[in-house]
């Protein structure tokens, strides 16, 4: 996995060398692995992405991150829109390298909150309260869980199936004998249940 991720970052640079005019489009549409930077003033790590190349930052609720990620680094960047606000929520968790396996989870959630005219607003005592109001709605958007399940079951499961379709540990002749036996059994069983009913 590490090789593929590393190759991806270099690939972007290579494409840009060939066609410099694609630079902006490429950087905004291809997600690179999140980079960590250190805020020396506060003594905390934060994440870099396209959205905070120029802008303010705001530290996100760490409850969600710690419950699901037990560590890691997270950053949230928000900016105003005409009728609401938008933001990006970044999470990066690297595996601890135990059991000789290395990995990294990067989340990039982009949200847009539209405030309709006439909708009741919470009492505004500062930016913290406004964001807390929207927190349950943002938090319950369970894309991460869905993506994680999909990754586990479909993507990893599918590649495993493909590997086992390329080669069989069991001798193919034995495998087809087994298949034939299974089909015969099923036929007999279904005939029997038809006779009984």
């Amino acid at each position: 996995v590490r090789v593929i991720v590393r190759v991806c970052a270099c690939d972007c640079v290579r494409v840009i060398v060939c066609v410099p005019s694609l630079c902006e489009d490429l950087l905004s549409s291809v997600d690179q692995p999140l980079k960590i930077a250190r805020d020396k003033v506060v003594g905390k790590d934060y994440l870099l992405c396209d959205y905070n190349r120029d802008g303010d930052s705001y530290r996100c609720s760490t409850e969600y991150r710690d419950l699901y990620f037990e560590g890691g680094v997270s950053s949230v960047y928000l900016w105003d829109l005409d009728h609401g606000f938008a933001g990006v929520i970044l999470i990066k968790k690297a595996g601890d390298g135990s059991k000789k396996i290395k990995g990294c989870w990067d989340s990039i959630h982009v949200v847009e909150v539209q405030v309709r005219a006439g909708a009741p607003l919470p009492v505004q005592t500062g930016i913290n309260n406004v964001n807390c109001f929207y927190l349950p709605n943002l938090g319950n958007m369970d894309m991460e869980n869905k993506i994680r399940s999909t990754l586990n079951e479909i993507y990893f499961g599918k590649t495993k199936d493909i590997v086992n379709g390329l080669r069989s540990v069991q001798m193919l002749a034995d495998k087809s004998k087994q298949e034939a036996l299974k089909n015969d059994l099923m036929q007999v069983l279904s005939q029997r249940s038809k006779q009984q009913s």
Partner: protein
């Protein structure tokens, strides 16, 4: 001034061709054409690509153990570095033929008889026969090619196996390759093997499995038939072990590493109650006010 510009342009072209070649060499199995077509667009010059990257096309096919078929034969032979005769021609040791190979069209043509090394022929033939039976038993779409070559003064048997499934309509492609070598100069030989698997699944996403394993085992050299039998036994055991390990790895990865990156459920084993967190936060702020 014009001379300087021309050099700069030449250097830029060289850089671009090198980059294009690099993309092509790393194309996933079954996706050479797609990568080639995309790279054509980037470079915007077919001549530049064809001349500069010709070596990359050949390199790709040899790396991938691309199977080739001559008209009038159902049997396939692998394109590998061991069969490279130069000038675009490759050796088929089973048929004792050489042929021209078009790396872009992946077509073989102009067969000619080619002897190969006669002294090693009995060993090569015995290993080829044993290996063919093994590949038929374990690879639904497998192809194998066995060479007998003297390398650095050592009489060497090189066995290459390839199996692939390309299903771009279902957004996936996969290929496994293995290469096994041993020399017959000593009573006990070291068998050296490398096993490779690459799978690409890209329906609504992009996942690749890229894996390889190096293997070393001892082999007693007796007569051609017996040695071939033991050689193939070593290959069968190692490749079974590798495939089983990969399957088990998926379970381990799911249970430990993947979970260590992001859990399915919080440590509390229940989904987060966001309203609870919200009221706790508001409560805290009111306390601090």
């Amino acid at each position: 001034m014009i001379f300087q510009l021309s050099t700069a342009v030449q250097l830029q072209h060289k850089k671009e061709v090198r980059i294009a070649a690099n993309f092509i060499i790393h194309a996933p199995p079954g996706e050479f054409n797609e990568v080639f077509n995309d790279v054509r667009l980037l470079l915007n010059s077919d001549n530049l690509l064809r001349e500069g990257a010709a070596q990359a096309f050949a390199q790709y096919n040899m790396d991938q153990f691309t199977p080739a078929k001559l008209d009038g034969s159902e049997d396939q032979v692998l394109i590998t570095e061991h069969g490279d005769l130069g000038h675009g021609r490759f050796f088929d040791p089973r048929k004792k033929q050489s042929f021209k190979f078009d790396h872009l069209r992946k077509e073989a043509s102009e067969p000619q008889s080619h002897e190969g090394e006669v002294a090693l022929r009995p060993w090569r033939d015995a290993c080829d026969e044993a290996l063919r039976a093994y590949v038929k038993d374990h690879y639904p779409t497998g192809v194998c090619t066995v060479y007998g070559k003297t390398i650095d003064g050592q009489q060497t048997i090189i066995a290459c196996i390839e199996g692939h499934q390309f299903q771009p309509k279902n957004f996936w492609n996969g290929r496994c390759r293995s290469e096994w070598k041993f020399t017959i100069s000593q009573p006990t030989a070291q068998v050296v093997g490398v096993l490779k698997i690459q799978v690409h699944y890209y329906e609504d996403g992009n996942v690749q499995l890229v894996s390889h394993k190096d293997v070393q085992e001892s082999l007693i050299i007796s007569n051609e038939v017996q040695t071939a039998k033991e050689f193939v036994k070593i290959i069968e055991n190692a490749e079974n072990e590798y495939q089983t390990a990969i399957t088990e790895n998926y379970q381990t990865m799911s249970d430990t590493t993947f979970k260590a990156l992001r859990r399915q459920l919080p440590v509390t084993r229940t989904k987060i109650d966001w309203n609870k967190i919200l009221s706790y936060k508001i409560g805290k702020e009111m306390q601090n006010a």
